[in-house]
């Protein structure tokens, strides 16, 4: 194994185990994308084939349909505890991206996530038969594992491995706790919660190198399926564009990324509206 993938894997596994040890009510966000799927795989590494915490997915209802079937298929095969949240009220009111991409993201992702995590909105949980049913008593999560990478975007490069959020989900960038060596913030005041970032040191290329090495069954939207295009980043169908590419394997993608000079999220329309879009969304609790 190359030394740097080994280092990255070790650090992520250590962080996941620290999170599991310290947070009684812990969950992992799974967007179905490559990063959080790698994170899910790292959890199986950390816990010797098991995933002992629930996985939370926020369904905007505008996701590419194969993302949902892929999610449920993997959840059944790997024995995952799957939790799904949604902004039902906004959807009933017809929310969509034509009302402004940031408005739409705020309602369907940020707000839905916040209310799903704090347990104030209903959660759908996959039962033993592989069907979703409503969780009768959703408890707030105090530890949330998130697949953010420092190299994705300026605001993400400021994150800590363990990053506290206050009652309003606010992130105080200017006043973050120190992280000495591998001692993380695992003590927190009632009402606050901690975001855990096991993938902080990974780059987009590292993700693909690891997918290749471990043979992780990543969703096929990332590959060219015969039309000369693929997704580089996954999101909602109306706001996520394909790139021209004939890559059909992780190896092809790695080779392609070594040559590209375009930013990863260039295909994500919401970033283009405002240069500080991501930071604004993240302050409100976007991942």
């Amino acid at each position: 194994m190359s030394d740097h993938l080994r280092e990255l894997e070790n650090q992520s596994v250590y962080i996941l185990r620290e999170a599991y040890k310290h947070f009684k009510s812990l969950c992992m966000l799974w967007s179905i994308g490559k990063d959080s799927t790698v994170m899910l795989w790292l959890a199986r590494k950390a816990f010797f084939g098991h995933v002992p915490m629930p996985l939370v997915h926020i369904d905007t209802s505008y996701k590419i349909p194969s993302m949902i079937s892929y999610r449920d298929d993997l959840a059944r095969r790997w024995g995952l505890t799957m939790v799904v949240g949604q902004n039902r009220a906004a959807l009933a009111d017809g929310m969509n991206h034509t009302r402004g991409r940031l408005t739409c993201c705020s309602a369907l992702k940020t707000e839905a996530l916040r209310r799903t995590l704090d347990g104030t909105w209903p959660r759908l949980v996959m039962n033993a038969a592989g069907q979703y049913e409503e969780d009768p008593a959703p408890e707030p999560f105090t530890g949330v594992i998130v697949g953010a990478r420092a190299d994705e975007e300026g605001s993400r490069s400021k994150e800590r491995y363990f990053s506290p959020r206050d009652k309003n989900n606010d992130w105080d960038v200017a006043d973050q706790p120190p992280e000495f060596w591998n001692q993380f913030k695992t003590d927190f005041a009632p009402g606050t919660h901690v975001r855990v970032h096991p993938l902080l040191d990974w780059t987009e290329i590292n993700i693909w190198e690891y997918i290749e090495r471990e043979n992780i069954p990543i969703i096929d939207l990332y590959f060219d399926r015969g039309e000369g295009t693929r997704y580089r980043s996954l999101g909602c169908e109306p706001c996520t564009g394909c790139i021209r590419s004939t890559a059909t394997t992780p190896t092809d993608i790695i080779a392609e990324l070594k040559r590209t000079t375009t930013a990863e999220r260039a295909g994500r329309a919401q970033d283009q509206e405002d240069p500080h879009a991501m930071e604004k969304l993240r302050r409100e609790g976007y991942m």
Partner: protein, 619 residues
């Protein structure tokens, strides 16, 4: 072979196979984390922006994005803006956190942490520097050595970063004058020497204009040494830790029964050394011995050995009771164990570190409360004076202290092992300071600890193991130590508890101190040698525990110090401390004096079950 002609790559005519080969080579390249520190406004962000631009490390979108922001805000583009990606930062004009960015040279790939210089952000500088392998420290040629130049230098030493290159920046502002450079070098070298640090080299640069960063300066022909890019390539990777003696801090013990997995896996990250199937290992401070049965991993080939710095899991042949916080090693080279040690620390808490104050210590995976027993000296970085008569350590100060832990801690000294010599202190909810252990100090219990250790190592076992007994009885051996003043109802609780456990089918015995005194201590009756009585009581209890029993203990003759002695001889893992009444110390369970025996006994049973000592039986 298909040609890669997509827009996203921006490259035509190269074959995918070439690209793949290059990618494969790239993934084998060496990586290094470096940190850039120094006083505020001495040019850290500018240097990073310059390094990235000169090594062509920006993705295409980024430069344009920052230029667009500058244009919109009517500002002239500066290299520093490239890093200051956050609005808040650009408004304040100072970097507020350790942003991570990436650049590469011919030799290797770098992750560079732009640590801030503003004094308020020392904790961010530390977060950045704590994960760095080498440091670039900037000093403004015009301003000279400032407070944070010194503080950062000192903290780098404390964090164990030995590779430091000092960059004297803004040489253009002093006419590229060698005399200015030489003066700063002499002054700062002398300071670092006091901190027992030797910098690798000093380089005169202008980050803004690019002199001696990626390219040799035409204006400073007098400087013959390497450029910044050449200097970072001269940093060396830390020596591998797998050849050191084994240090394996237990991070957790997993048993995923519900998923039908019967393995009991001791998990953690190997801090140093190597462990192999068949090795006899010892866990400190509990002195538990066992043998490695297997190395466990998911989606990996079966291994018979594991080494630093990997996260691993092991199973053991004898199912001993070990917990997070213990340090696994081989028998011939064990960590120190004590409750007292001398340490060097930097304090970041809003409230000062107080002499006599209590904090949570986190060292490797061990967490326990400590008290500040002594503040030996405090260094003031602004005027470099050392104060020896202080009762507190204020924010951003560095001090030498003696810490006293509630429970014995396994640790090493920083010269031998870094990872098991470093610690942080938590004040309420916040990590408020960090440091390194310089020296282990003997405490009052050291002789008893040594007795327990040699006893445990030489213990002769029969063919019926601890595990056999635990499986037969349905519980782990444990001493329930009831403490409190006379007349608070301990005896009643102890008797009710014994009956309750016995009726569940547990192997339980009420060991009254009086009964040990009547027989075992007969020869001590005249001398009333209290310490020896405590020792004998604990050793008798230990025999019962070795026989797999739950021992319920109550005695008014033992004082608080005696409980520590009993705990030391028996091993903290096998003691549940229940206190009734006031001054509970660090008891696991505390009851009011008014508690009635039935409820108290029931609560103790529940606690034993929750902590994994009891196996729940169907009623």
């Amino acid at each position: 072979m298909t040609a890669v002609t997509s827009e996203s790559t921006g490259v035509e005519g190269t074959t995918a196979a070439d690209a793949r080969e290059e990618a494969a080579l790239a993934s084998l390249r060496e990586k290094m984390n470096i940190v850039i520190v120094g006083h505020v406004d001495h040019g850290k962000s500018t240097l990073v922006g310059r390094l990235l631009a000169d090594t062509e490390s920006f993705p295409e979108g980024k430069l344009e994005k920052v230029r667009a922001i500058c244009a919109r805000q009517g500002k002239q583009f500066e290299y520093a803006f490239l890093l200051d990606a956050l609005e808040a930062e650009q408004d304040q004009g100072i970097t507020i956190d350790s942003a991570r960015v990436f650049f590469k040279t011919a030799a290797r790939d770098y992750i560079i942490i732009d640590a801030p210089g503003h004094i308020e952000f020392l904790k961010n500088m530390i977060s950045g520097a704590a994960r760095a392998e080498a440091a670039l420290l900037l000093i403004d040629a015009h301003e000279g050595v400032r407070e944070n130049s010194r503080r950062h230098g000192y903290v780098l030493g404390l964090l164990g970063i030995r590779q430091v290159t000092v960059l004297v920046n803004k040489m253009d502002l002093v006419g590229c004058d060698q005399a200015v450079f030489d003066r700063i070098e002499a002054e700062y070298r002398a300071f670092l020497a006091e901190c027992r640090m030797v910098p690798q080299r000093f380089i005169p640069i202008s980050a803004r204009d690019g002199d001696n960063v990626a390219h040799r300066s035409a204006r400073m022909g007098w400087y013959k040494g390497p450029t910044v890019l050449e200097a970072v390539d001269l940093f060396r990777k830390a020596p591998k830790r797998e050849n050191q003696p084994l240090r394996f801090p237990v991070q957790d013990v997993y048993k995923f029964n519900r998923a039908g997995d019967e393995r009991r896996i001791v998990a953690g990250r190997i801090a140093a050394g190597r462990v192999a199937v068949g090795d006899q290992v010892v866990f400190s401070p509990s002195n538990k011995l066992s043998t490695v049965a297997s190395i466990e991993a998911f989606n990996a080939p079966t291994a018979t050995a594991a080494e630093a710095p990997d996260c691993v899991g092991i199973t053991l042949t004898e199912q001993i009771f070990v917990q997070r916080g213990e340090l696994c090693s081989h028998l011939d080279d064990r960590p120190q164990v004590s409750t007292r040690f001398r340490a060097n620390l930097v304090w970041l808490g809003r409230k000062p570190l107080a002499l006599g104050g209590e904090y949570k210590l986190k060292l490797a995976t061990c967490e326990t409360n400590v008290r500040v027993a002594e503040i030996q000296s405090v260094l003031d970085a602004s005027d470099l004076t050392t104060d020896k008569a202080r009762t507190e350590v204020r924010r951003h100060e560095v001090a030498e202290v003696v810490l006293e832990a509630k429970r014995p801690v396994a640790f090493d000294l920083v010269e031998r092992f870094e990872n098991t010599a470093r610690f942080v202190l938590v004040d309420q909810y916040d990590v408020a300071g960090g440091g390194i252990i310089l020296e282990g100090l003997a405490d009052a219990l050291a002789p008893l600890r040594e007795e327990a250790r040699s006893r445990d190592f030489e213990w002769v076992e029969g063919h019926v193991t601890q595990r056999d007994r635990a499986e037969r009885f349905g519980h782990e051996p444990v001493l329930v130590l009831l403490t409190g003043n006379a007349g608070v109802g301990k005896a009643a609780i102890a008797r009710r508890l014994e009956r309750m456990l016995f009726d569940r089918g547990d192997a339980v015995y009420l060991l009254d101190g009086r009964n040990v005194y009547l027989g075992v201590d007969r020869d001590l009756a005249a001398s009333m040698n209290k310490a020896e009585m405590v020792r004998r009581y604990a050793e008798v209890a230990y025999l019962f525990l070795d026989a797999g029993q739950i021992v319920v203990s109550t005695s008014n003759t033992f004082a608080l110090a005696d409980h520590a002695a009993i705990r030391t001889l028996i091993g903290a893992n096998h003691v549940l401390h229940v206190h009734v009444g006031e001054e509970p110390g660090d008891a696991d369970i505390v009851f009011d004096e008014a508690v009635e025996a039935e409820g108290a006994a029931r609560e103790i049973v529940t606690h034993l079950a929750q902590e994994g000592w009891l196996v729940n039986r169907p009623d």
